[in-house]
Each structure stands twice: as structure tokens, then as C-alpha cells.
């Protein structure tokens, strides 16, 4: 029985054959040629090649959150041909999402974000398999969700999820691309468990209840989440293909007003409660952290 990715792929092949008047006997080789054309602009990059493309096709990358960060990240992963893209979200599309959550359109209002995202990603690239996890990440499901993937992109919008994801990735030794944005600021770091500083080397414990602003307090511009989310996809692609340098042992802090990145070198902390000499966090913790003001979303 064909799964949805195969069905989408077969439909795309038929459309391609009809549009190009191609003999159906030749469709598979013609379609492979077409697929090769799809990725031709990245295959010719130094250090990338057909090998790199093959690695992307086999890769399994999870994007936690399909909002402001998740939207560009998911789009670029699909466009690049990452073969297996997982997405986790429990939310539905609302109006105030639409200034930045570019996977979701006006016609998707009220719809599950996972369904909306899946549809757009399949249309962009029917060759990739989209795996939906309709859930809010919590202490009971995070291990099961993450276990099926090679790399995780944290595109969530709250510290409860972030600490669960980062601790779980540490325990399961999965590379993690952390990104966040609020107001006109963004931050990006990639974590390779035991090789680089972990999330808690930067933020050992969550902030106090009620002190942090959210996007509904201070606002957020779509292009800011676009920058960070796109870079998260780039980090994940570089990890899979094995090219370039990742943002490890350093943090990139983005100032959208100045359009500048500040690089802050950050080392592993000996006193880190997760990866330090005497770990205090030895199992998953679900923090309940309330933001300063509960806004529209």
C-alpha cells in the first residue's frame, strides 16, 4: 500500500509526464532527472555533491514547533530534500500567527498546524516524507518522539518544552539546534552532546515564573523568526552533510535593528547541572513556567 509520500510522488510524476508530454514508459528515469534538476543548484556546491544529497535523503530531522521558527526551518528542509521530516505541534492556526508563521495561510485559520504544514511541505516537495506528531511535548512523550530522529531543531516557544527537548537530546545523545526569537532579538546555538556546551551550560535553570516577556507582550517580526529559523535549517543540513562549521561552543545573538550578529564564545561549564562534573539533572524535568502576561497566543 502506498503511503502518502509515495502517493504525492506518483501524482507529481503523472503531472510532470502530462505537462512535458513524456512517454509513461520513460517516466521514472525522466522523473529522476527532474529530481536531480530540483537539487542541481545545491549538488554543485563545493563539498556537497550527490553524496551530500544522498545523505539528506536518508536523514531524519525533527522540527519541534511549526510556528515562527518552525515554518522557515521546515520549508528549507523540505526544499533541500531532507528525506524524513518530523514535525511536532499541538496548536491550531490563529490570526495573530499569520505575520510570521509562513507555512500557514489565511485559509488555514482554525486548522491544525501539523495538517497545514504537511500540505504545504508536500506541495513544495512531494519527495520528502512528512511525519506529523499532533501533540504538546511533555515528559511522557518527548523520548518517544525524539527517538526516531537523527537531529532535532527546537523551534518551540516556551521553556517547558525547551528544557524537556534539550535534556532529552542530551540523554539520547542527539544533536540539537537551539534557536529562539522574541521582539527584535534572536539567538542560535547547536549542541552536540558531550562534545559542546549544552543548553544548561547557557541557561542552567529556567527563568523565574512570570518574569519573561512573550511575543504577545513585546511583539515579533516575521523576518526575525525567518532569519533564525532559516539558520536552524542550515545548521541541521550542515550537520547531516558534514560541511562547514556549526554554531557550537558559541552563541550567535542576532540584533534585528542593527542587522548584526554578535558571536559569544561559550564553554562547557564544570558546574553545569546536566553535563558538568557532578550532574544534578539525571532525568527529565517538566517545569511549569508562566510568562509575564498571557496574551492572545
Amino acid at each position: 500500500m502506498m503511503n502518502k509520500a509515495n502517493t504525492n510522488s506518483e501524482n507529481a510524476k503523472s503531472e510532470y509526464a502530462n505537462s512535458e508530454n513524456i512517454n509513461s514508459e520513460n517516466i521514472n528515469s525522466e522523473y529522476e532527472f527532474h529530481e536531480g534538476l530540483r537539487y542541481s543548484r545545491q549538488i554543485i556546491l563545493d563539498g556537497f555533491g550527490a553524496e551530500g544529497q544522498a545523505m539528506l535523503k536518508k536523514a531524519k530531522i525533527l522540527v519541534a514547533g511549526s510556528g515562527g521558527l518552525g515554518s522557515p526551518a521546515l520549508l528549507y528542509l523540505a526544499a533541500a530534500g531532507v528525506g524524513n521530516i518530523g514535525l511536532v505541534d499541538f496548536d491550531t492556526v490563529t490570526s495573530s500567527n499569520l505575520n510570521r508563521q509562513i507555512l500557514h495561510f489565511t485559509s488555514d485559520l482554525g486548522r491544525r498546524k501539523t495538517d497545514s504544514a504537511e500540505e504545504k511541505l508536500n506541495k513544495l516537495n512531494p519527495e520528502v516524507k512528512v511525519i506529523k506528531h499532533n501533540a504538546r511535548i511533555d515528559i511522557d512523550n518527548v523520548e518517544d518522539i525524539i527517538s526516531g530522529y537523527d537531529v532535532v531543531i527546537d523551534a518551540t516557544d516556551n521553556f517547558t518544552a525547551r528544557y524537556l527537548i534539550s535534556d532529552c537530546c542530551y540523554f539520547m545523545k542527539k544533536p540539537l539546534v537551539e534557536g529562539a526569537a522574541v521582539g527584535l532579538d534572536g539567538i542560535l546555538m547547536t549542541i552536540i552532546p558531550d562534545k559542546t556546551p549544552c543548553y544548561r551550560c547557557l541557561y542552567p535553570y529556567p527563568p523565574e515564573d512570570g518574569v519573561l516577556p512573550t511575543c504577545s507582550d513585546v511583539g515579533i517580526l516575521g523576518a526575525v523568526t525567518g532569519v533564525i529559523g532559516s539558520m536552524q535549517a542550515l545548521e541541521a543540513i550542515k550537520l547531516v552533510v558534514g560541511i562547514g562549521q556549526n554554531v557550537t561552543s558559541r552563541i550567535l545573538a542576532f540584533d534585528a535593528l542593527a542587522s548584526s550578529f554578535r558571536e559569544v564564545k561559550w564553554s562547557k561549564r564544570e558546574s553545569c547541572p546536566l553535563c558538568g562534573k557532578e550532574p544534578k539533572i539525571t532525568e527529565l524535568v517538566q517545569y511549569e513556567i508562566k510568562c509575564r502576561i498571557k496574551g492572545l497566543d
Binding site: G68, L69, A180, A181, L202, I220, T225, I251, R262, S271
Partner: protein, 67 residues
């Protein structure tokens, strides 16, 4: 007078300030940042004990969790 680099920018300071004093003078809420001082990350509990000196380097990184 003494010089301190904060977030990559050189600042001239007059009074002796602890890390906590500096944050308050810069209107930075200590609850929403992490601080690296001379490439070490002191515990928050020490911020009101560590006095800034000439040549010190401070990196102040906000807690950002939105997405």
C-alpha cells in the same frame, strides 16, 4: 576611571560596580539574563560580590525562549 568591554563594546566606568550594580545601571533585569565574566560563568548568587576591574570582559545574554 577604568575600561570594561561589555558585549563587545568598550565602556569607560567611574564608580566601582559589581556585576549586579552594572546590570542595574544599564537597566537590565538580572532575572532575564545570563552573564559571562572574563570567560567564566559566575553563579548568579555571586553577581553582587564580583567587582568589575579595568580590562574586564562581560557578555550579557538574554533569556530568549520564543519561537
Amino acid at each position: 576611571m577604568y575600561n570594561v568591554t561589555v558585549n563587545g563594546k568598550k565602556l569607560e566606568l567611574e564608580k566601582t560596580l559589581t556585576i549586579k550594580d552594572y546590570l542595574e545601571s544599564a537597566c537590565v533585569d538580572p532575572k532575564i539574563v545570563v552573564v559571562e565574566h572574563n570567560y567564566e560563568i559566575p553563579d548568579k548568587s555571586k553577581w553582587n560580590e564580583i567587582a568589575l576591574k579595568d580590562g574586564d570582559n562581560l557578555e550579557i545574554v538574554k533569556f530568549i525562549g520564543g519561537g
